[in-house]
């Protein structure tokens, strides 16, 4: 059917600079550029461009630029171009609009309305470069109190399993399948280097990554792909994935064409078959079933490692979190409205769930009210873009954060939202072996470790500014946050006072 859609981008090529080296032709996963052998020139098919800049960055003569197509629609506050284009696309296909990455709609980003505190006069700020500054965070349930052995005076409490991370930033679940193996290996290596954890997602743990299993959170999701006793034993923590911020309430679907031999071996399914992750775990239809699975996993791992639960931030997230604590989870990961994904129906991504800031604040508050905050670690996910976001999340009550989009951006991702297409020119969201080779895990790990190191320095600076030298002193310390430009009800949910008050 004739498409009525105009191209989204315009590719500009400075012919003066173009040396016909065809680097752009080869780098584009979407076949935007092509070479006319006869004429000896390179030309572009703009309609295929997704705006990922791979060609722009790799052009050795800076001959290329990509602009948004300046095509104008008649102004209409209601029928904005996106609405029109979505309708056209569905009229042509009759399908569900698919997209990737996180929500791009202008919902309020609360991070940008929260400001942090700093010491002046009444208490000293701390110089983090020379003074001690502790960021180590222990993930896992904590007992309510410490008891001493009356005989020896030694520790009497049996501590639940604790997992330390050197920085409170973990790599969120991205399965091998949704991302390439070199991309996942980059995450694994960086996690090992930075003393933190990466998450396998629901894709199993590739054989080559077993050396990094000590830094792995192994995920158990509804499809149970790649889950066997060895996998469970290998991971540092086990995560039951209930939901994800980008698509709360629905499952996942790795199309068969992405199930390469390696993906198949890691997921333990035949090559080329669809990997369907149902929306629910079919052994969890209720909260007591969650408890059943949590304890099944604890049994399977002999109570040696934390078992956590990841949920999407939804309306009654606080109550759900409370139930999860009571179901025996050692940590809860909450993924907000802006959480990302490899593929989601656009309508789910853009309209379901609530922002992480509100969800996190609500959960932390609720668990404290119920006196069970100590029973879990909280990991906030979905929309963390920089170290300030990390710190604000911790002040709102998180123990640690998950990052995913930021990590992929560090690997080159331009958030073009086409992950589902499997053609990622940056070699991230693809299984095409020609494209995946673009990520050298050594470089990827270095970029990611650099990012964590940079953020970690900044966090230390900000903490020092607040006169705090241990991260735990900021955890849930909302007095160090003030709101700018928020309504009373938003401030109430966040538990934050207005700036100036």
């Amino acid at each position: 059917m004739k498409s009525y859609l105009a191209s989204r981008f315009v590719v500009l090529r400075d012919q003066e600079r173009c040396i016909q080296c065809r680097v752009c032709v080869r780098q584009c996963g979407y076949d935007v550029h092509a070479c006319d052998q006869e004429a000896g020139d390179v030309y572009s098919s703009d309609d295929r461009c997704v705006g990922c800049h791979r060609c722009v960055v790799f052009c050795p003569t800076q001959a290329l630029s990509v602009r948004e197509n300046p095509l104008s629609y008649r102004a209409n506050a209601n029928w904005r171009p996106e609405a029109i284009e979505d309708v056209l696309r569905q009229a042509e296909t009759g399908g569900v609009l698919l997209t990737g990455m996180g929500n791009d709609k202008p919902y309020r980003i609360y991070w940008d309305h929260l400001v942090l505190n700093a010491s002046q006069v009444t208490n000293p700020s701390i110089d983090p470069l020379r003074e001690p500054m502790e960021l180590t965070t222990f993930l896992g349930a904590k007992p309510e109190a410490v008891t001493l052995d009356p005989e020896t005076g030694a520790l009497g409490t049996q501590m639940p399993p604790q997992v330390p991370v050197d920085v409170p930033i973990l790599f969120s679940a991205m399965s091998f399948g949704s991302i390439s193996l070199p991309a996942q290996e980059s995450l694994a290596r960086a996690a090992a280097e930075a003393g933190t954890l990466f998450n396998t997602g629901e894709g199993g743990l590739h054989r080559s990554l077993y050396p990094f299993a000590g830094n792995a959170i192994v995920q158990v999701a509804s499809g149970r792909f790649g889950v066997d006793p060895e996998y469970l034993q290998a991971g540092r923590m086990v995560e039951i994935k209930i939901g994800q911020g980008a698509k709360p309430g629905i499952g996942g679907h790795l199309p068969g064409e992405k199930v390469s031999a390696e993906v198949a071996a890691t997921r333990m399914i035949p090559i080329g078959t669809d990997a369907l992750s149902p929306a629910p775990h079919h052994d969890i239809y209720s909260i007591e079933d969650l408890r059943q699975l949590i304890y099944a996993l604890k049994e399977a791992t002999q109570y040696s490692k934390p078992v956590g639960v990841k949920i999407a931030a939804v309306h009654n997230v606080a109550a759900i979190a409370s139930g999860i604590v009571r179901a025996g989870a050692d940590y809860i990961a909450i993924d907000g409205l802006r959480g990302s994904t490899g593929a989601a129906p656009k309508v789910m991504r853009d309209h379901v769930g609530i922002p992480i800031e509100l969800a996190l604040a609500a959960v932390d508050t609720r668990l404290r009210q119920e006196g069970i905050r100590h029973c879990v670690s909280l990991i906030a996910a979905g929309g963390i873009r920089n170290s300030a976001d990390v710190l604000k999340a911790i002040a709102l009550g998180a123990d640690a954060v998950y990052i995913a989009t930021a990590a992929l951006v560090a690997l080159g991702c331009r958030v073009c939202q086409m992950c589902y297409a499997g053609k990622c020119s940056w070699g991230i969201a693809t299984q095409n072996p020609y494209l995946t080779r673009r990520i050298n895990p050594a470089i990827g790990a270095r970029r990611l470790a650099n990012l964590l190191r940079g953020w970690s320095h900044e966090i230390q600076e900000m903490l020092g500014g607040m006169g705090i030298n241990a991260l735990e002193s900021l955890r849930g310390n909302r007095l160090h946050l003030r709101a700018v430009g928020l309504s009373d009800s938003e401030m109430r949910v966040l538990g934050v006072r207005p700036a100036g008050e």
């Binding site: 239809y285 209720s286 909260i287 007591e288 079933d289 408890r291 059943q292 304890y295 309306h315 009654n316 606080a318 109550a319 759900i320 979190a321 409370s322 139930g323 999860i324 009571r326 179901a327 609720r366 009210q369 119920e370 006196g371 069970i372």
Partner: protein, 385 residues
């Protein structure tokens, strides 16, 4: 609408979410028996609860006052009892008022004051033609008007005994070993919050309808707004409550047979209705068309009890478990078979009903024989087994 809802739901959740273990046992001859079995069985499913709620409904437990409404009331504050008793005295004929007997249990902390009042409406000037309607109205009024008082049982010759704790602990607390009944239903609760609120435990009841529930009713908002238009106050903001009111509306007020009510709550799929060419499909279609707002969507298993009746019902696609069993005159319903086996190892039969297929057990009419194998009444929707 104050008081109880915030007590049950101090965080203002859209609804209180909980899930659980449920158990029911009935002697179809109507012969009362002790609660040993129900208590042991529900304790066997300890893992399904978290100690934040438990309770029992006992039918036939007040044989001495079979015609009086037994109002079980909990008082969270000392002062309020005087006012409530004044209200009860002013709106009912009060025959007997006494504290509900309890005993100290270490793990049961800070219980409310628990009283029961045996009342009737006969000849009361305010009661109309329908005493049950009047009682419902008064219970709703007490529960909404008095901030710290709550009527949690209001049927005749039956009682609800519930609170915060594991069910076996509450049985001990309420001295249930001293009661006998011909139906016992029981509940171990796994709520997702801890209001420390006794009224939030199961069973939920109105008159002598009681409901114990496992699961979550995703259609709660729809169901609740529909029921509110019929004068029900969902004071608890829990999904279980709507089941009790929905049954009350359909069976007591709209006089539908319970089979039809089951086909409303757990309506057959349109594809099933469409395939059925019998006249029954016309009825099923009409029920769905008239009562779409009472379709209970989402995972649930409930045991609904009523004078002389015990009904087990699951959602249409059986997302929550229910096992039924029978030995002689005893019929069991349980979340897990092991709980039944614990108290009655040698069963005549054990089965799991299909989704939406109610298991209905009635006290036998005089001279009626014991039910045959799997003598459950089929749902009108023609569920498959």
């Amino acid at each position: 609408m104050r008081g109880t809802s915030t007590r049950n739901n101090p965080y203002g959740d859209g609804k209180v979410i909980d899930a659980c273990s449920i158990f029911g046992v009935m002697d179809v001859t109507g012969r009362p028996f002790s609660g040993d079995r129900a208590i042991a069985a529900i304790a066997c499913m300890h893992e399904r609860g978290n100690g934040l709620g438990g309770g029992f409904a006992v039918y036939g437990c007040y044989p001495d006052f079979p015609d009086w409404y037994a109002l079980h009331v909990m008082y969270m504050e000392y002062d309020v009892r005087e006012h409530v008793e004044g209200y009860i005295g002013g709106h009912f004929q009060l025959h007997l008022a006494e504290p509900i007997p309890t005993r100290h249990v270490r793990t049961i902390s800070d219980p409310p004051q628990l009283w029961r009042y045996f009342v009737s409406t006969t000849d009361h000037p305010l009661a109309g033609e329908e005493p049950d309607d009047y009682v419902v109205q008064q219970v709703m009024r007490i529960n909404t008007r008095f901030r710290n008082a709550f009527v949690f049982s209001s049927g005749k010759n039956m009682g609800v005994f519930k609170g915060v704790g594991y069910p076996e602990e509450l049985a001990e607390f309420y001295c249930l070993d001293e009661y006998r009944g011909y139906i016992w239903t029981a509940h171990g609760r796994f709520p997702t919050n801890t209001p420390g609120w006794w009224g939030g435990a199961h069973p939920f009841s109105i008159l002598d309808w009681t409901v114990v529930h496992n699961g979550e009713i995703s259609s709660y908002g729809t169901n609740r707004r529909y029921l509110e238009s019929f004068g029900y106050h969902c004071t608890m903001e829990t999904d279980t409550e709507v089941v009790a009111y929905a049954v009350d509306l359909l069976v007591r007020r709209h006089r539908l047979p319970i089979e039809a009510a089951a086909s409303v709550l757990s309506a057959p799929l349109w594809s099933h209705i469409d395939r059925d060419s019998s006249p029954r499909s016309t009825l099923l279609r009409a029920l769905r068309q008239v009562y779409p707002s009472l379709l209970l969507n989402g995972p649930f298993t409930v045991i609904i009890a009523h004078a002389g009746e015990m009904i087990g019902l699951t959602d249409r696609i059986r997302l929550r478990p229910l096992t039924a069993a029978r030995r002689g005159p005893l019929v069991y319903l349980s979340s897990e078979e092991s709980a039944i086996r614990l108290v009655d190892p040698d069963l005549d039969e054990v089965w799991t009903p299909l989704g939406g297929e109610p298991i209905m057990t009635r006290v036998l009419a005089p001279g009626e024989g014991l039910p045959g194998p799997q003598a459950a009444v089929r749902p009108l929707g023609g569920g498959t087994r």
